[in-house]
């Protein structure tokens, strides 16, 4: 048995479903980072360039939301797959971290620094992979919650304090930066730089890599210590119990997802902005302002004849302290007094509001000392 295993050069690690899930993650994560980070750092030139390439901020937001929806759908699917493996096929939850992973990590560092002779014998999923998986789960949940808050700010603020929304925005951006930097440093190094690990695409891993990264798993495979599959009748029974539950959960979660993405569009849609305010000349006559009237006076033609202070000139009466009512005053301004060469003024030259301001000032103005 040991002899036979020794000639085996590659070991199956991932099923086609797992590889497909990884591809979805790869595409959505990269796409979300590419469309999300430029939104967080919108003022940076690189962000502007990237947004330009992607077709503008509106399309960037649509892509981001599409990929987010895809990622959440994948998360629901993954929940189903994991439940099937754990509850139907009876697999061990080998992704769950434990005390041994901390021990493994410490031993690995010690080994790297030359403080320890042997590389730790790592299980099917080693501490580094568990950390990444945990980060993906934690990150997706956090991004979905904070994303929901930004996507549906009104619904959120009816339940939670409004101040949660900017905090969600900050967390969403910071978590994204953390995830991207971690992927660049940790994931890139471990599966691309240190050794190009194709197992996520081909499904199997070389013996050499198995020896270094999963020695314990390799030993179990070679010594036949892997848990035997459950009897077919047990699986069949479990399946019958699992499917109704799985379908119900999937439907509920998918419904939740649809609710999530369709609840509000206040943050997405560019609706025509409300009617522009009236800018055409239109006067709402309220009350005159003597100060304005006084300021207006020298600018109008009135001052030409009635004098700079409205005190009158030879042959032209003073208007200060006028006893005219507003209606009388208004009539004079608009109709003029032809027999005294007082011209009529149109609203274009002296708007209604001006007449009111002028009247208010003239009415209050002291008669000039003789």
């Amino acid at each position: 048995m040991a002899q036979q295993a020794a000639v085996q050069t590659s070991y199956r690690r991932f099923t086609s479903v797992e590889r497909m899930e990884h591809m979805i993650l790869l595409v959505t994560f990269s796409g979300l980072a590419l469309t999300g980070l430029p939104q967080t750092y919108a003022a940076q030139p690189w962000a502007k360039g990237l947004i330009d390439i992607l077709g503008g901020i509106e399309s960037v937001r649509i892509i981001h939301r599409f990929l987010a929806t895809l990622l959440m759908a994948e998360a629901i699917f993954h929940g189903g797959v994991v439940s099937y493996r754990l509850f139907v096929l009876g697999y061990r939850a080998s992704m769950l971290p434990g005390i041994r992973d901390i021990r493994d990590a410490i031993q690995w560092i010690a080994f790297n620094l030359g403080l320890r002779k042997d590389h730790p014998h790592l299980p099917r999923y080693n501490f580094g992979e568990k950390a990444e998986y945990l980060a993906v789960v934690w990150g997706t949940v956090l991004m979905a919650i904070t994303g929901f808050m930004m996507w549906n700010p009104i619904a959120t603020s009816t339940v939670l304090p409004g101040s949660v929304i900017p905090a969600a925005r900050a967390a969403h951006g910071a978590e994204a930066l953390l995830a991207v930097l971690s992927i660049i440093v940790w994931h890139m190094y471990n599966v691309h730089i240190k050794r190009f690990n194709r197992s996520m695409f081909t499904g199997s891993l070389s013996r050499e890599a198995m020896e270094e990264e999963h020695a314990e798993e390799l030993h179990k495979i070679e010594s036949g210590e892997t848990a035997p599959p459950l009897p077919a009748e047990v699986i069949a029974l479990r399946k019958r119990r699992f499917w109704p539950y799985a379908v119900m959960m999937s439907l509920a979660l998918t419904g939740g997802l649809i609710w999530f993405i369709t609840l509000e569009n206040t943050a997405i849609q560019t609706v025509p902005r409300r009617e522009s305010r009236e800018v055409a000349p239109e006067v709402t006559l309220t009350a005159g302002d003597a100060e304005i009237g006084e300021a207006l006076w020298p600018t109008l033609r009135c001052a030409r004849c009635h004098g700079d202070t409205a005190a009158g000139e030879t042959g032209v009466p003073s208007l200060r302290g006028t006893a005219l009512t507003f209606d009388e005053f208004f009539t004079v301004v608009r109709s003029g007094i032809p027999e005294h060469d007082m011209p009529a003024f149109t609203p274009l030259e002296i708007p209604d509001a001006y007449v009111l301001h002028l009247w208010e000032w003239l009415r209050q103005a002291d008669e000039p000392a003789p």
Binding site: Q39, A42, A43, D52, G56, I57, I109, F111, N112, L113, G114, M150, P153, I154, S157, T158, L160, P161, G162, S163, V164, P166, A167, R169, A170, A171, A174, L177, L178, L181, S182, V185, W186, Y189, T266, A267, T270, V271, P272, R273, R277, E278, V279, A280, P281, E282, V283, T284, T286, D289, E291, I292, A295, T299, R304, L348, E349, P351, A353, Y354
Partner: protein
Amino acid sequence: MSNRMRVAVRIQLVLGLFLFVSGIAMITATAQDAQPTAEPADTQETAVPQTDQPVPPAVDGLVPSESYCLLCHAQPGRVWTLPSGETLSLTVDPQIIHDSVHGFSNPEGPLSCVDCHTQQFFPHPEPAADNVREFQIERYATCRDCHEEQYTSSMDSVHGAAIAAGHLDAATCVDCHGGHDIQEPDASRQQISLTCGKCHGAVFEQYQNSVHGSALFAESNPDVPTCIDCHGVHDIADPTTNLFRVRSPQLCATCHADAELMAKYDITPNVFDSYLTDFHGSTVALFEQQDPNVPTNKAVCFDCHGVHDIARVDAETSRVVRENLVTTCQECHPGATADFPDSWVGHFPPTLESHPLLFLVDLFYKLLIPAVVGAFVLLVLTDIIRRIRERTSRRARTQAES
């Protein structure tokens, strides 16, 4: 027509041509002498003098002097009835022109009538205008002869476009600056906004009560914007376009991001930067950068603060004071609830007191990101060190073996 009169006319001409400046008083005196038979003003209905009027000789090729024009135009009560029935006064008070910017204070020297009223040699050509406004529109192109730049840019303005589209009430040069009585347009800053208010009465009313307008009129504040500081002078753009909207935050920022200016009024100059980091501001900035003509409802400064009726942010009437803010939010977010405005961080950097949750989240990630990424870097480094060590020892082994 007496000999004495003809002589007087000639004397006038000579005096007018050679003693333009110093001869004004004399000219008026002789002009009065020269018109003993002038008819009563109110019967005069046409610009063309009657045959028994003093008819000035034709002046082909010779620039007529001011006094020459004033022979007729100084007569009081002269009016011209246009085909529409409207009348236009033809009487000119030379004193008004002399006191204007085109009078004696003009550094280029005072202008004469025909500098503006070109092609108006006597007898006058028949004007084509049907009414007073058409006549004014016809005439104001004369400003271009000296003020080409201002004239051209006004052609591109909302006013120019409106006139071109047939809305003849839109402002021309003289509607804002005046005709014969042109004064310095900004002799007082108040005057600028008062001029615009002549037509834009409703806007002016809002403005005069705003934080800007009230400071202008009450305190003659030198810093608050008048109409032209936001809208421009001659090249006034249409403020209802997407372009104006998307660029408006930069307009407000010219003053409100100026730390020195804002310090005078104890206003934070951080408003623009903090706006840009917010969802609204970053989106608008991206739109501006991508295509400023794209329509967007993402809030710009005036959506929240108001346009002409901007109030102090702590005033009761302010659209952004906490009591009124939800109503303002609802203009774009119709379902916004009482708690919704708290999702707006404001224009001040968040602190533990003002935005505890946001502040703590920021702090948390400020510590977490370097810690996690730093740890990963260190772990990767230990792995690299080990691999280098293994490689060198392997090489040493193979060398020793060979």
